[in-house]
Symmetry: C2
Subunit: 413 residues, 2 copies
């Protein structure tokens, strides 16, 4: 018997039929003798509907009241899911974030969990209840309702797992695990049985949006075993999903590379002929940040003759705005020669903890792309990742050839 926290995403509870299906899934786990805490999201589309109502009333609604409105989405699903569980013959009880209580700071719409009171939950679990806790929400010191921001239900689940010292936190979603690449692009892509926490972080930030990045960080901090599973596979014969492990765990798979990730819809901007002097990076990126534009990769190479080229990437939708900021406010101020941009690029990344101890991964990746005639425009590397910016028309090809080159289609021994 183990204590398991299960989180069900919006599509998993998107209709009353889906909610009944979740209840059957939970009943199966319960019948195996486990104690269960279940954290559902709002029914898919509901949070957007609620925020849309607020937006109709004010372009800039007060965050405290926005949270009051948004938190109802999850409150509806905890009630409905509890009812569905009782229909399965189980004892079930719902808790709002405030009822638990999940104490957060007062940063409305993006609050952080400070503490979880687990006494009532434990008593209910010991009395045989399935405990259903609203994700995404908490209360602050004043008793005001707070929400954790988009994807906050993942964080709620992980935080509950940490507080209750759960055996495992299972994240149910519409995919059945983490893959070596997007299976829609690479039919040979393989589901990973395990992936390290750091790899998962890189994958999550690179468009393999299986898990909310904050929840993965949270799991890492509190050493919560996280498993990604599908809520759409056969209830009686479920898959094992992907387990996210930590450094100290034994690696079940000793692969060098765990996957190929990518981000579409990127744009790159290069400020050319920038005087290489202190404060220049801030002079360029400060105004960009002030304009609320999020920057992804940042690259500055060694200077030649006191001049350097400074490049960064942004989401394509922010490209025009970023170019405007640079052309009008920054260029003359920093005496740059020219600002160039390209909004038809994408980013492909090779991710794997194994590359730390294996030389030649980068060169293998570069050679693979060169053999296909794919020109590399920018390169950025971290300890466990090589990111490469290329023309967007080569995205699919690049992912496929890299996947094959690193033998990700082959199940490790």
């Amino acid at each position: 018997m183990a204590l398991i926290v299960q989180k069900y995403g919006g599509t998993s509870v998107g209709t009353t039929e889906r909610i009944k299906e979740c209840a059957r899934r939970i009943a199966r786990w319960k019948s195996l003798g486990h104690q269960l805490v279940v954290v559902p999201s709002a029914m898919s589309g509901e949070t957007n509907r609620l925020l849309g109502l607020a937006q109709e009333i004010s372009p800039n609604p007060a965050p405290r009241e926005l949270d009051v409105v948004a938190a109802t989405g999850e409150q509806v699903t905890i009630g409905l899911l509890s009812i569905a569980l009782m229909e399965q013959g189980l004892k079930a009880k719902s808790y709002t974030g405030g009822q638990v209580k999940i104490l957060t700071d007062s940063a409305h719409t993006k609050a952080r969990i400070l503490n979880i009171q687990d006494a009532n939950l434990r008593a209910d679990l010991d009395a045989g209840y399935v405990v259903v806790v609203a994700g995404f929400q908490g209360v602050d010191e004043q008793g005001d309702i707070t929400t954790l921001g988009r994807g906050g239900s993942d964080t709620s689940a992980v935080a509950l797992a940490a507080a209750l010292k759960a055996h495992e936190c299972q994240i149910y979603t519409d995919v059945d695990g983490v893959y070596t690449a997007d299976p829609r692009l690479v039919p040979e892509a393989r589901r990973l049985k395990t992936v390290t926490f750091e790899e998962m972080l890189e994958m999550a930030s690179l468009g393999s949006k299986v898990l909310q990045i904050r929840s993965v960080e949270f799991a890492g901090k509190y050493k919560v075993r996280l498993r990604v599973l599908s809520s759409f596979d056969d209830v009686d014969n479920p898959g094992a999903g992907t387990l996210i492990t930590f450094e100290e765990d034994d690696h079940m798979e000793e692969a060098i590379i765990s996957g190929i990730a990518f981000t579409r819809d990127e744009a790159k901007i290069t400020v050319m002929g920038v005087p290489d002097r202190p404060g220049i990076a801030y002079a360029i990126l400060g105004p960009i940040g002030d304009a609320n534009i999020e920057v992804d990769m940042i690259i500055q190479n060694t200077s030649v003759d006191g001049l350097t080229d400074f490049s960064f990437t942004v989401q394509r939708s922010e490209y025009k705005k970023a170019m405007d900021v640079l052309s009008h406010k920054v260029k003359t101020h920093i005496e740059a020669k020219e600002v160039r941009g390209d909004d038809r690029i994408c980013k492909v990344s090779v991710v794997g903890v194994g590359m730390r101890s294996h030389a030649g991964i980068a060169s293998k990746a570069f050679r693979t792309l060169a053999e296909e005639g794919i020109n590399i425009q920018m390169i950025s590397t971290s300890e466990i990742k090589i990111s490469i910016v290329i023309d967007e028309k080569y995205l699919e090809l690049a992912v496929r050839v890299l996947h094959k080159a690193f033998e990700l289609d082959v199940e490790p021994a």
Copy 2:
């Protein structure tokens, strides 16, 4: 400067446009220097949608969880209305029932208010906030969410007015007051400037469903000045609605009769030739109550030769079920001769506190109907009401001629 509690019904906050309109109305009251506590219902249709979801999952959902789901309807509107009030330049703050807190018993889906903690509300009012409190909901001793049942927002508003010793509790709805008769039936019907609490009780139970009957009782118990107003009239030139007064108040209008009420869709059942002995009424109505059928009028006349006829009325939708219960379970058991029914009847009532001290009201009503050839099937009277059961085809005619006979179309001097 006065403290005013305003309740806005479901149609009054049915869309984001309507919510903005409510905010403008509240802003006007605020500009007159009043302190305001506002109690909105759920957006019209929302409570039914939520209960419908629960029903899709279980034919018999657990009341505790049903309340968790249903309470979200009002939580959405308090947030949205607070946002709309801030758009009007006001300070506003929302409270759920639990946040106030409005303490109730644990009778889920029909809880009763036990106590209201008003310290936080008072502090906010003194600080210049418009306080927006979710109607229909509270929490019990365990911190579980409860709801007060249909129309419970009226009760919430009255209870808040009582707790805060408000000057007045204003119920905003889609009619602009209480009329001498339904204006759709009687074009000459007049809006009453005042109506007594008891008259209102009789009107409310007779289909003039302007106010929830429990809230009127509550107002009577705590001597809360209640006013019914329209949320659809001109914001800058609002009507005065109808004030519900209590015995000790001065009557501004000294009318004998305040209105003609009616109930459609009734059915009557008569158990004939019943032995007139103790326990017989219970023997008949006990099984009816056990079958969850609500009984309205009950009439038993003096017996002749030890036998009497026992009649009662039920809603037409319950008629068949009631007849079945009587025919199969009751008739032989109590040795009645026959059970007769008629599901094509209606009830018309003449209501007014003035009839206590004025003889001849009943006979005037009977004569008026007789002159139109309307046969009276049953009569029941209380101190301030005469109810008459007639063939449903005479409903409109009866209401109109009674309205005219008692000169309700004439504004009192």
